[in-house]
């Protein structure tokens, strides 16, 4: 049962088709990977799903409800949260407050600030940032800012989480920690759609992988199928 699906999704930048006629679906409880060369349209697709951009044509549905054309904050409140490739933390606010913002925003009714604080504290623990709760977000390393974005996104209580290059800039040992984090998020019942270039992670964590190239979907399948696809090796993996 798809929780998120798109049909014929298309977006132009000037004359260039950044995303062209893309069909996709993500099933409830799945971890789906989105890969492709730089400039293939992966982040643009995430921007279309999260409402930062509006598609020129096509439809995107979340739990059978059309979401394209809605404002980003509406889409987030419905249960679609995301992180950003170029991190967008609230730089001059403490780590805890960044997460609190997510908690207060995501709750449909008034939450007591004690409850929100407890929840935010738990989320920081969950992503491994407890020790840094009072640090200003700008003073975190990039890797930790990305983890902070995960905590902030989770605080909005999403049903699906879009992760845009969570693992860029991590060494293999840190990648292993984040792989484990992603599995724990899924175990909370949250569906995951993730862009990642770290093949070791994408291949072992994902149930299914989609490949974009020049804005078009050129392949889709299990990690095994993708790793052995001639086309994917040529345009993306190399060697």
């Amino acid at each position: 049962m798809p929780i998120l699906e798109g049909e014929g999704v298309t977006k132009y930048f000037g004359g260039l088709a950044a995303v062209w006629n893309v069909d996709f679906h993500v099933n409830q409880g799945e971890i789906v990977g989105l890969i492709g060369p730089n400039g293939a349209g992966k982040t643009t697709l995430f921007n279309l799903i999260s409402g930062a951009l509006v598609p020129k044509s096509g439809v995107i549905r979340f739990k059978d409800e059309k979401i394209n054309g809605l404002k980003p904050h509406k889409i987030c409140k419905m249960g679609v949260a995301r992180t950003f490739q170029a991190v967008k933390v609230f730089a001059t606010m403490p780590v805890l407050d960044n997460v609190l913002l997510g908690s207060f925003f995501g709750t449909p009714h008034s939450t007591s600030s004690a409850d929100a604080t407890r929840e935010a504290t738990e989320l920081l623990e969950f992503v491994g940032l407890s020790a840094m709760r009072a640090t200003l977000a700008k003073d975190l390393t990039l890797a930790n800012q990305k983890r902070l974005e995960v905590a902030r996104a989770l605080a909005t209580k999403p049903e699906i989480l879009l992760l845009d290059e969570l693992m860029a800039g991590l060494n293999p040992t840190e990648v292993a920690q984040d792989m484990e984090l992603i599995t724990r998020i899924r175990d909370k019942g949250i569906t995951i759609f993730m862009i990642e270039h770290v093949m070791k992670a994408i291949m072992s964590v994902c149930d299914r992988i989609m490949v974009l190239h020049h804005g078009e979907k050129i392949a889709e399948g299990t990690p095994q199928e993708i790793a052995t696809s001639r086309t994917v090796v040529e345009v993306y993996l190399g060697e």
Binding site: N38, G169, G238
Partner: protein, 234 residues
Amino acid sequence: MLEVCNVNTLYGKAQALWDVCLEINEAEIVALVGSNGAGKTTLLNTISGFLRPASGSVEFLGQRIDGLPPHSIVELGISHVPEGRKLFADMSVRENLEMGAYPHHAWKQREETLKQVYQVFPVLKEREKQLARTLSGGERQMVAMGRGLMSRPKLCMFDEPSYGLAPVLVLEVFQIIKSLREQGITVLLIEQNVRRTLEIADRAYVLENGRICLEGACGELLQSDFVRKAYLGL
């Protein structure tokens, strides 16, 4: 060529580097590895003059450079390709590249250097007039590297050049870095792709919590149990 000696660097009261010593010989590729937050970028910023060490010295070609402003250090022949590319978003690709050529000697030769950069990154020639903000992540990285080369450096420092690049481009970036040595450019490389880095570099330093905890030839480090566990995830 470069000698960093007992450098201590602080952010306010927080000490980020502790008695760091490092040296680079001409035509070497030297790698700097370590976890996020270990102080790698701080060390690069200390060398390029964005940060001043509280104590210790940095010498380049026999001259003290700690305390000099960044632009003077570029003039002397050190170029820094920063983490996260740091392009001028509203300038074109060509303008960004030209910004790298402001040292006096480089400016005179900029047309020629530009040609060389376009040879290394043909896609930048195609995108010459495009604004940097409209480029993909991979293309931005190429502009950042190209801009670093426009100053005709003797020593080029790269901070995570493979960050966010597709695997096929990662291979290309490592190829390019290797080829710089043949052009007589010395390289200091920070990378999280530790295995490939240790494969192309001659020597490496491992930085942990602001201190150099290990150094040696890359072949040896690849065999070291500590490196395999902590940085290769084996």
